[in-house]
Every structure is written in C-alpha cells, then in structure tokens.
Amino acid sequence: MQTGQSIAEGPTSSGVSHYTTAVGEPDRATLVDIFTRATLIRLCGNRFASVIRSGRIAAPYYSPRGQEIVSAAMGVALNSDDYMITIYRGLHDHLAKGVPLRELWAEYAGRATGSCKGKGGPMHITHPASGVVVTTGIVGSGIPIANGLGWASLVREDGKVTVTSFGDGASNIGAFHEGLNLASLWKLPVIFLCQNNRYAEHTSYELGTASPTIAGRSTSYSMPGVRVNGNDPVEMWKACRVAIDRARAGEGPTLIEAMTFRFDGHVFGDSGDYIPKEEYAEALANDPVPAFRKSLLEGGLAAEEELAAIEADIEARITDAVEFALASPYPEDSELRLDVLLEEVEP
C-alpha cells in the first residue's frame, strides 16, 4: 500500500497546487471502515448485475465497479450529516454515505418502499437522512447546486461540508467552470470530487479533455487542486481529510481529481470495445478492492476471518434487501398527483 507521500508533497503535474495542511495516517478502524464500505459497493454492484441479468429488475444501471475506494474513503472521512451530491453513476457514493440497502434496492426496482417511492429511480436516489440530497442524471449539473448548499451552511454556520461528485467528462461542461468560480469567490465549504475514470461515455480522456489534468484547472479559479490515486485508500482518505478540514475551517473549496477506472463501461450492457485491451487488463490487474483486501491482510491490519465475516454479513444484508425490494408493492397511480408541487395536482 502506498503511504500517501504524494499527497504530502503534492502532485508533480505542472499547474497543480500543493497541499499545505497535513493530516495523520488513517488508523486501523478507519481502514477497516473503508474496506467495509468498498466491499458493500462491490458486492451490491455484483448483485445488481446478476439481478438485472436475471430479468427480475429492469433498470438502467451505471456500474461504479472499479471506483469503490474513491467513495468509500470519502464516505468515511465525512460526517453523516455532511451533504453529498452525486450523479447517475452514484451507487458507490450512495452506499458510502449510508443510504440504507432496502430503500436503495426498492428504488432500483421502482417500488413504493424505495427511497423516492419509486418516482426517481437509480439516477435520482435521494436520502437526506444520509446527506444524499441530490442525484442528477445531467452531467455537471450537481456542481453549481453544491454551491447553494455550501452557501446555506455559511449563512446558518452549521459547519457542514458539501461534496459534489462527478466524472472527468463533467469538467468540460460550462457548469463546472461557473461552479468553481463562484465557490472560490465566496469561499464556500464545498469539495469538488472529480472521479476521473478515464472515459466520458465512450470517449477517452485524451480525446475529450485538452488539459493534462483536471486538478490543474483549479489554478484558474485560485483553488487548491490535487490529483491523487483514488484507488489507494490511504492516499484518497488523506486527500478527503485535508479538503474537509479546509472547508470546515472556512478556508474554502478544494478540487480533488481521483484517478480511477470504470470496469463495466458506461451503462450496463456496454461492451467497452472503445477501451484498449492492454489498458483494461492493466486496470484489472490492479482491481482496487481485492488489492486493498490483500494489503490489509499482508500488513497485519486485519485477519482473514474478520474480513470474511464482513463480506458474509454484507451478502446477507444484500439478500435481505433484494427480497424486501421484490416483495414490495409498486406505487399507486395516484402518486402522479403528489410531489409535482407541494400541494396535490390534477395531472
């Protein structure tokens, strides 16, 4: 496992600013927590794929397989009442932030017991109790929304941090630039978490993004920007902690570019033919969840029995959630009258 040295020294790419704040090393409990959340994401994703394949749930599924560590580390570093805004590829962020499995699965299945009563679906999972306040299906749109939550926190002095999660493709949308500019001007307690998985739909980073790094774009907005190995739990957790501490201290926003990879293409069923075979093979050889598991064992931080018990518990909870979701009723048609406005409407 990397020690996170690159964080302390700052990335080497030109134009990327360096951290000035230091954080300590994550303790054992923190690492096990990151592993547990990452495993939950991995196993839940695997189950979605098998349930969708079986035809029991028909849902558009944007798999985060390969990006688990990024969200798990952020989820551990945040408080449960901090805000998270994520995107259609958001399962990892939802689970890492604490959205309950039953409500999540029931929402994927379009049932009345889902977190959004079946009215939002996978692309719009919302669970304010976990801090997941917005999930958007529009690339880049969560970025300016995060500023409003951050502004509200400044007005209320509630000490909350808002994280807005997005992909590398979103950094080419105007909303990214407008959002970072305003956040920096207003010194908002917002963290812009770019999960650079190398592909925007089917277009590679190099074909779609003129800048050598996304982190480097932060310099245009006088904001710290760091590029980290998002698949390294220690490096990722430290980057999150530094940014969170800055935000809570009133020092303003940070852009984190977490380098990662997306194993299951853009949407479930995507063959991924546009990804060079060598690139895919190399990423798979460094599959972050098994690699983290191995490092915990080899570092003597966890025993095989402990990790196996965590995995077995998660599998059981997922099975319970699947059964709950599939046994739940669909929403009544009368739901169309509700939630269009606060007051009931005649649709």
Partner: protein, 338 residues
C-alpha cells in the same frame, strides 16, 4: 383604480414593489437570501434599483452580487432551496434564463417529484422581459409558455406594481419553485399604482376577475392588462360590457375562473405579449373548446405578437407586437361574428 386619485395614497413603481417585497421577506425570515448580477449596493442595487439598500440593511452574506454566471446563479438557488433556505435569485433578463435552463427544468422543477417528496425547492427566480423598448431579439422575449410547459414550476406575471408586490411576496413564501416575470416596459414607462399595506400577498394559482362584464371575456396577464382595462372602459361607453380576467399565475392555470367567465359571456378573447404559436392562448383556447363547445356564441380569438424574433427597428417592433387595436378588432369580431 380609485385610490390612484387619492393624493394621500403612496404610489409605487415595479422596482419599488420588488424592494418592498424583498425587504419585508428578508426582515421576516432569516432563510430568505437575495442574489444575482449587480444586486448588492456596491453594484448599484440592481440595474433598475429593485434591490437598492438591501445589502446594506441585511448584510453581504444574505444579499449578494454574483458574476455573470446564470448556471451558477440558478444552481446555487436550487442547492440553497434544497438546504431549506428561501433563495430569491435575479436573472436580469428572461433571455438569459436560457443559459441556465438545465437548473430550472431538470432540477428545480423535478427534484421534489424525483425524491418522492423528501426534498423541496422553495426558490423564486425574478426576471424581466417584454418587447417595445428597442432591445431587439435577445433581450425582449416572453418565454412563459416554455416554463409553464414544465410540470413542477409556478409561473407568475404581475399586471401592475401593486399586484407585483403581492404576487412576489406569495412567490417567496411558496414552497414550490416560482418564476416571477417582471415587465421591462412597465419599468421603463414608470407605471405607478398604489402601495399596498405591509404583508400584502396575493394567492398563487388564482385568476382575478379584474372587471365584471357580461358580453365578452378578455383573458390576459401582465402588461397588456392595463390596456385591456382602457379598452373595456371605452367599449363600455358604447354599451359593450367586457369582463377582464387577469390570470396572475400562468402555471398552475386557474381554468375554473376562466371557464366560469366564458360560460357566462359565451365569448372569449385571449391576449398576451408572447408570440402566438404554441402560446398560453392556445392552451386556454383548447380548454375552452373541451369544456364549453356548443355553448359559445363565437370562436375563441387570440391576440398575440407575431411569430418572429423580436425586431429592432421601431416600425418593425410595432408591427410585431400585439396592440390594443388588434385586441379591439378581435373583441368586436367575437360580438358581430365578422
């Protein structure tokens, strides 16, 4: 309005109505936030001074100028509203709303529904538009039909400064996303009507029977209402009794009031500043057809601006715009069948 002739009554302009409504709301509720391009006192308190004095009174944290950045403004309004605040954002002119339409259409309008009612978006967007001032194609469009076509938004258009104050107050304290469309020409002409009492609020979603009549219903909203009143006054002297319906709120549309009026008069003319095609007039005419077919004494008429971009040249702009003369001939034709 009789009060207008009483010299003791304070008269207000549209921007003064804005100021009254915002001042009251900021004082009454710490969740109210006001922001937009140039709204703080350091930047003049708004291009037409509607927000003058508010940042001095309530501080720069609650009343903030923004960069020219409509996606950032509208996105921040959505986020602040989701966090439980009552943001009032200014988008200087309605055409600039198009730059940030994603936030309004995909987020403000849908977040309550998509979250199953867990989160709401109690924001207000103030914006200004309308042709007649020589501002050409990109500073004059009335786009209320676009917005009204999106379920989840409330769309409000005041017909004079008194109404402006009451409807803006209602928008700010409504728990749904509201777009409040102010009239550039109402501001430029310096139109004044009596200042209402503090706290004055007009319920949203309810049309106003602004003048009772029996021969024909004229249904409109916003700036044309003043001209509809003067036409009704003139026709009244000929013995033609015009009922004037001021919609106040375009969405939700109060068809109940409109249908009750048309059921009585059997004749309807709809007037709006926006271009005719696919407009609010078409929607109202369709409703009247569905509910009152067979009871009408004449076809429903629409008076609207022509279906072109807003032209610059004053002669062309005049030819483009709806006019009181068009309205008069439409009203007369519903009465005579010619």
């Amino acid at each position: 309005m009789n009060a207008a002739t009483d010299t003791n009554v304070r008269m207000i302009t549209g921007p003064e109505a804005t100021n009254m409504a915002l001042d009251e709301a900021l004082a009454a509720d710490p969740h109210v936030l006001v922001f937009g391009e140039d709204v703080a006192d350091g930047q003049g308190g708004g291009i037409v001074h509607g927000t003058k004095g508010l940042s001095a009174k309530y501080g720069d944290l609650r009343v903030r100028s923004t960069p020219i950045s409509e996606q950032a403004i509208l996105g921040a309004a959505v986020g602040a509203a989701v966090a439980g605040m009552r943001p009032v954002a200014e988008i200087m002119l309605m055409n600039f709303l198009t730059v940030g339409m994603d936030q309004l259409v995909n987020h403000a309008a849908k977040i309550r529904f998509m979250s199953g009612g867990q989160t709401g978006v109690p924001l207000t967007i103030r914006t200004m538009s309308g042709a007649g001032g020589g501002f050409g194609g990109q500073h004059s469009d009335m786009l209320e039909a676009w917005l009204a076509h999106v379920p989840g938004l409330k769309v409000v258009v005041p017909s004079d400064p008194t109404e402006w104050k009451g409807l803006l107050t209602a928008c700010i304290f409504d728990d749904n996303p509201c777009v409040f469309i102010e009239s550039t020409m109402m501001v430029m002409s310096g139109m004044k009507t009596p200042a209402p009492e503090p706290g004055y609020s007009i319920p949203l979603g309810k049309a106003n029977v602004a003048r009772v009549g029996t021969d024909v219903s004229v249904i409109g909203y916003g700036r044309p209402i003043a001209d509809v009143h003067s036409l009704a006054e003139r026709l009244g002297r000929e013995g033609i009794s015009v009922e004037v319906i001021d919609l106040r709120t375009i969405a939700p549309l109060d068809m109940k009031t409109v249908l009750a009026s048309v059921a009585k008069t059997k004749r309807a003319v709809i007037v709006h500043e926006a271009v005719r095609s696919f407009g609010v007039g078409a929607e109202i005419a369709a409703h009247i057809n569905e509910d009152l077919f067979g009871q009408l004494a004449a076809p429903v008429r629409r008076v609207a601006s022509k279906n072109t971009p807003v032209p610059y040249s004053s002669t062309l702009e005049k030819a483009f715009m709806w006019s009181e003369a068009n309205l008069e001939s439409a009203v007369r034709s519903t009465l005579t069948g010619k």
